[in-house]
Each structure stands twice: as structure tokens, then as C-alpha cells.
């Protein structure tokens, strides 16, 4: 079964409750702050921002419980912030300062907290999440394991191995595909033959296409999918057509100006600002200021400490 929820460019986005809007903007300003710091040479290593894709974890947030496992990937700041509302812990992790959620060992791409895990090798998490779902199915029915992955990650064989076992064994595994049309520098049509819908169906797995970028519409489209995964204990794939507004990592965007303009034109941020200028301005300013304060505070912390006893 494939369900499609369209609405790529509704004329007016749905007005959001304050907490949703705040979370969207928290993620946005977190990412902008990071790029800013990288630009000024204040950060070491690399990072991948989710600019333009913030609404995905925000839409999912009330649909998930603490008992659900979330697997994130390289582009995971939004996923983390939607789950924990902890910009300090995450920024400290990226900067290697005290209070870092993983003591600065994992950095931007490798985070574990409660039932949230991210790692840096694409595709690897799908079988791992299937294993978690195998346990949930037996011991904690009604909970699910969710994997965020990009369109490009469907190049990895591990995805199919995991999906096959999840389908065979009836496991509550949800793959949330953030299909932003590109993998690093490679457009989807140069790295993915056929379709994600076909790949889900090939394993007898339900697929839902969501082209909306409106948090409320996306949430409404996702709610029944999560319910089915929980109640019927079988995997599902949700494909969200989304738009990477920023570079792949720090500053590597080799798309044409037209392609970048196209992504920007689909950015929820500008459109929401236009639709609800007053509500937006107030929240936007608040989150921007909040993040500036977070950056200031965390940057002032001493370096993180990794105790011998924690070294595995």
C-alpha cells in the first residue's frame, strides 16, 4: 500500500502552536549558529546541518514516546533537539566542552542518550534497529524503532538486509526517509534507480509519500503510519520529499544557483515568516537570542573530560 500526502506548496502554511514553532526555530538557529562558528574557524572537525528539514523531527515529536528508539544519522541535530530539547548538551558535544552529552567523544555524528542513537556509517543502523525492534516486539509491544535515513543511504546493501528481516519477522521498524534529492553532491537520479516506494513494496512493506513541508500536515500524515507500525507490528517506510537548504557539511555546496534557489523556495522558514509575520518574528527573535546565549555559555565552559572508567 502506498499512501501519498501531497501539499508541497500550500498557499498558506498551517498556523503552529507555540511549542512547535519554538522547536522548529530552535533547530534552525542551532544550525545557523554552528555554520557561523565554523565560518569563523571556531569549530574543529565537521558537521552536517538539517537546514530546511527541521520540520521532520518536529512533526514526529508528539507521535513518539520515551519507549521508542530513534536512530539518527549524520544530519541529526534536529532529531536530537526534538527529542531532548537540549541545545547545551549537543553544542557542548560538538565543541568538546563540559556537559557534552557524550563527553565530546562522539561529536556531531555519534550520540547515544537513552533510546536515541546516531552513528556515522550510512545504512548500518537499519539492521541494528531491526534488532532493537525484535526485542521490542517480544518484550515491549506497542513501541517501535525509528530510523532516519537519507535518499542516498538506499545505496547501501545493509538497508535491504535489515528491511527484509523486519518484514519477515513482523517487526515494528519505521524508516523515515528524508529525501532531499541529493546525497552529498550527487543528485538522487544519479544514485538511486527506480524509487523508494518500489523498494519498500519489494519487501511487502507499506510506503507513505509525504511531499508537504508543513509541520501540521506532515504530522497528520505520519500519525496513522506510526499507529499501524505499533498496532500491527510490521515495518513501514515513510518518504518525505524535503529540501536541503544548506551545504552538505560545512561549506560544500556544488549545486547550481538555480538548484539552491529551488531548495530555498521550498524552505518552510521563509514561507512561515511570510504567512504569520508577527507570531514568527517574536518566536524567531526569542530563539535566536536563546541560541546566542547558549553559544556564549557553552563556549565559556572548560573542555570536556573523558574518564578512564568511561573508555569502554
Amino acid at each position: 500500500m502506498t499512501a501519498a500526502v501531497t501539499g508541497a506548496r500550500p498557499d498558506v502554511p498551517t498556523r503552529l502552536a507555540a511549542d512547535d514553532l519554538d522547536l522548529l526555530l530552535l533547530i534552525r538557529h542551532f544550525e545557523l549558529a554552528l555554520l557561523d562558528m565554523f565560518g569563523r574557524g571556531e569549530l574543529h572537525g565537521t558537521t552536517h546541518t538539517c537546514l530546511g528539514q527541521e520540520y521532520v523531527p518536529v512533526a514526529l515529536r508528539p507521535l513518539l514516546t520515551d519507549g521508542d528508539h530513534v536512530f539518527s544519522n549524520h544530519r541529526g541535530h534536529g532529531h536530537y533537539l526534538a527529542r531532548f530539547a537540549d541545545p547545551h548538551g549537543l553544542l557542548a558535544e560538538v565543541m568538546g566542552r563540559q556537559g557534552a552529552v557524550c563527553h565530546g567523544v562522539g561529536g556531531s555524528q555519534h550520540i547515544l542518550r537513552d533510546r536515541y542513537l546516531s552513528t556515522g556509517v550510512q545504512g548500518e543502523s537499519v539492521p541494528v534497529a531491526a534488532g532493537v525492534a525484535l526485542h521490542l516486539n517480544r518484550a515491549e509491544p506497542g513501541h517501535l524503532a525509528l530510523v532516519h535515513l537519507g535518499d542516498g543511504t538506499w545505496g547501501e546493501g545493509a538497508v535491504y538486509e535489515g528491511l527484509n528481516m523486519a518484514a519477515l519477522w513482523g517487526l515494528p521498524l519505521l524508516l523515515v526517509v528524508e529525501h532531499n534529492g541529493i546525497a552529498q553532491s550527487t543528485p538522487t537520479d544519479a544514485q538511486l534507480a527506480g524509487s523508494i516506494e518500489g523498494r519498500a513494496r519489494a519487501f511487502g512493506v507499506d510506503h507513505t509519500l509525504v511531499t508537504a513541508t508543513d509541520t501540521a500536515l506532515v504530522r497528520a500524515a505520519l500519525a496513522p503510519v506510526l499507529r499501524r507500525v505499533r498496532e500491527e507490528s510490521r515495518p513501514a517506510v515513510v518518504e518525505l520529499r524535503t529540501h536541503r537548504v544548506g551545504p552538505h557539511s560545512k561549506g560544500d555546496d556544488s549545486r547550481t544557483p538555480e538548484e539552491i534557489a529551488y531548495a530555498k523556495a521550498h524552505d518552510w522558514y521563509a514561507r512561515y515568516a511570510e504567512a504569520y509575520p508577527e507570531q514568527f518574528a517574536a518566536h524567531d527573535e526569542r530563539q535566536r537570542a536563546y541560541l546566542a546565549e547558549v553559544v556564549r555559555e557553552v563556549a565559556g565552559r572548560p573542555a570536556s573530560v573523558w574518564e578512564e572508567a568511561d573508555r569502554g
Binding site: 557524550c102 563527553h103 539492521p127 534497529a129 531491526a130 534488532g131 525492534a133 545493509a158 528481516m165 568511561d310
Partner: protein, 335 residues
């Protein structure tokens, strides 16, 4: 007569599954009535159909699933049908299971064992006969063990899971049909005991005295004992055999005293040459016993070659008892 190694393994799995409701066992074709390619898993899926699962052909995926179970507070044992195929799970082992124990800034238990039927001498050919232990030596967070006829597998597997570190257990395929040793007796000449609960020590007359120490992983234990016997009877050389159950991290503390006393060490493995476990052990010994050894540590292993299928060719590649015999003699006699 003592039980066969395959029975000991099978009973170990029965006992562990019975004791621990969190334990899963996954692998290709391991469900009854087939019970696995080497019959190690017979009877298990009938008793625990929920926790003993035959999987698709997906070595990487299965180890990933096991990693997920471990992450979720469960425990998992995976059977890779032939250890050659563990290559397909290299990423899950290197980059997920072992990394996860430490890369999140705190210890994360990952109780997970990958069982690997290993080695040649069965005519299965180049992609079904390898000894891949060496490729996994020195992965932070990963332990390596090898089945031996001296080590009870319930103790070994239970111990591996208890560490909370992922591990690989190598199982020599020829050993399966051999017998376990019991009660400290090897035969009318040789006795054995366990040092530190890990290193089996096989000796004649006096455990504190030998002309040469021969260290082997479990898969070569029977062969090493046969060589030691020959050396004694034919050459009057007293060779003490040491068989660690844990290959990695090295159990140097238990191995060094005997080597120090004898001043001579031969390490034999079935692995092809280069980057071997033995080279690492040799380095530890050369460093720790510098200036006291009578000869350089001698490594014996298979040739630098693919492992051919035909028995008469396989023999030209795989380490032979005569190779080990010759090496010990040369080290002792200084040839």
C-alpha cells in the same frame, strides 16, 4: 569417552539459552530439523522458537540485528556459517558493535558473540577454509576467543557474554567431531591444567620444566599435542603446549612464565603468513623477555596462498604437523 566438541558446544548453547531469557541465537539454517550446517545448533529452535532464529543470507545484517539486541539490553550469539563470510560483517563488527562500547563517551555493554566455523582440511575450497582471526586482532573493544578441546564452551561463551564486550569465537571445523579432554588427562603421557582459568597447559612429568613452549590457538590443540608426543618419543624433546582460550587481548601474564623458563617459544597457527596473531605474541615476548631467550620466537603458519580445494594441494598450503615438529626441533637444537 568424553563428549565431542560439537556436543559440548551444543550443550553450552542449550544451557545458556535455558539460563538467560534475554539470550538470542541467530544464523543461517540453524533451525531444526536442520540444526545448522555443522549441527552445532541442533534442538535449540525447537525449545526456544522465539529466540533461536534462522535468518536470511545476510551476514552483515544478522550481526547488525545482534548489535541491536545487545543495545536493547539483550544478549546475542550469531553463527556465521563459514568464517570466511564474516568479512561481510566486518563493518558491523568494527564500526558498530565494538565502537559502541566506547564511542559514546561511556561504557556501553554490547554482549554479543559471533561464532565462526573456521579453517581448512575439509576440502571446502578457497572461500570456505580461511582462518580470519588475524584480521580482527587489535580492534579496540573486541575480544577474540577460539574453541579448544580443553575449554568448556559454556564457560567460554558465558564468560564472553559476561564481559559486555563483543567477541568473536573461532571454531575449527575439524575439531567439531573430535573429543573434549577431561579431568586433567590428555593421554598416558600428558596431563593438563588451566592457568588463570584461561590458558590450558599440557605437560609431561613436570609442568614447570620444558625444552620449548609451543603456543597454539584451540584449533591446533590436538595437532600440537600430537607433535609434542612425537617430539618426546622420537626426539627426546620436552615440549610444553599452551592453549589460550582468549586470543585477544593477549593473555601474556599466563604465557610468559613458561616461556621464560624454557627460553624458547614456537607459535603455530593455521592462518596464512603475515600480520598473524603469532607475530603480535612474538613481539610481546621479545620485548618482555629481551636478552633471556635462547632463540628468536619462531612462527609457524600456512603459506602465503589461497587455500586450494583438492586435498593433495591443500596440504601444500596449510600448516602441517611436520612443519610444527621441524620448527620446535630447530629452535631446540639450534639448526
Amino acid at each position: 569417552m568424553a563428549e565431542r566438541v560439537v556436543e559440548n558446544l551444543n550443550q553450552a548453547l542449550h544451557a545458556l539459552l535455558a539460563d538467560d531469557p534475554r539470550l538470542y541465537l541467530l544464523g543461517e539454517d540453524l533451525a531444526d530439523p536442520y540444526g545448522g550446517a555443522f549441527k552445532v545448533t541442533r534442538g535449540l529452535s525447537s525449545r526456544w522458537p522465539d529466540r533461536v532464529l534462522s535468518t536470511p543470507l545476510s551476514e552483515g545484517g544478522i550481526v547488525g540485528v545482534a548489535g541491536g539486541l545487545a543495545l536493547a539490553g539483550q544478549r546475542a550469539i550469531v553463527e556465521i556459517m563459514f568464517s570466511d563470510f564474516v568479512a561481510l560483517a566486518f563493518d558491523q563488527i568494527l564500526n558498530f558493535a565494538s565502537k559502541s562500547t566506547a564511542m559514546y563517551g561511556r561504557r556501553v555493554p554490547m554482549p554479543l558473540v559471533v561464532r565462526c566455523p573456521t579453517g581448512g582440511n575439509r576440502g571446502y575450497g578457497p572461500t570456505h577454509s580461511q582462518s580470519p582471526q588475524k584480521h580482527f586482532v587489535g580492534i579496540p573493544g573486541l575480544d577474540l576467543y577460539e574453541v579448544s578441546p580443553f575449554h568448556d564452551n559454556q564457560t567460554v561463551l558465558g564468560g564472553m557474554l559476561a564481559t559486555g564486550r563483543p567477541g568473536l569465537l573461532f571454531e575449527d571445523k575439524v575439531l567439531y567431531t573430535g573429543r573434549m579432554y577431561a579431568d586433567g588427562v590428555v593421554d598416558e603421557l600428558f596431563r593438563y591444567d588451566l592457568l588463570d582459568g584461561d590458558v590450558a597447559r599440557i605437560w609431561v612429568d613436570d609442568p614447570e620444566q620444558s625444552d620449548c613452549v609451543l603456543v597454539v590457538p584451540g584449533g591446533l590443540a590436538v595437532r600440537a599435542v600430537a607433535v609434542a608426543r612425537e617430539l618426546l618419543l622420537r626426539d627426546d624433546i620436552v615440549c610444553q603446549v599452551l592453549v589460550p582460550s582468549r586470543l585477544w587481548p593477549l593473555h601474556a601474564a599466563a604465557l610468559l612464565p613458561a616461556v621464560a623458563r624454557a627460553g624458547r617459544l614456537v607459535v603455530a597457527e593455521e592462518s596464512t603468513t603475515g600480520g598473524t596473531w603469532g607475530a603480535e605474541l612474538a613481539h610481546a615476548v621479545h620485548t618482555a623477555l629481551w636478552g633471556t631467550l635462547r632463540a628468536p620466537v619462531r612462527l609457524v603458519h600456512s603459506a602465503d596462498s589461497v587455500i586450494p580445494t583438492a586435498a593433495h594441494l591443500e596440504r601444500t598450503v596449510l600448516v602441517q604437523n611436520t612443519d610444527i615438529h621441524r620448527a620446535v626441533k630447530e629452535v631446540v637444537r639450534g639448526a
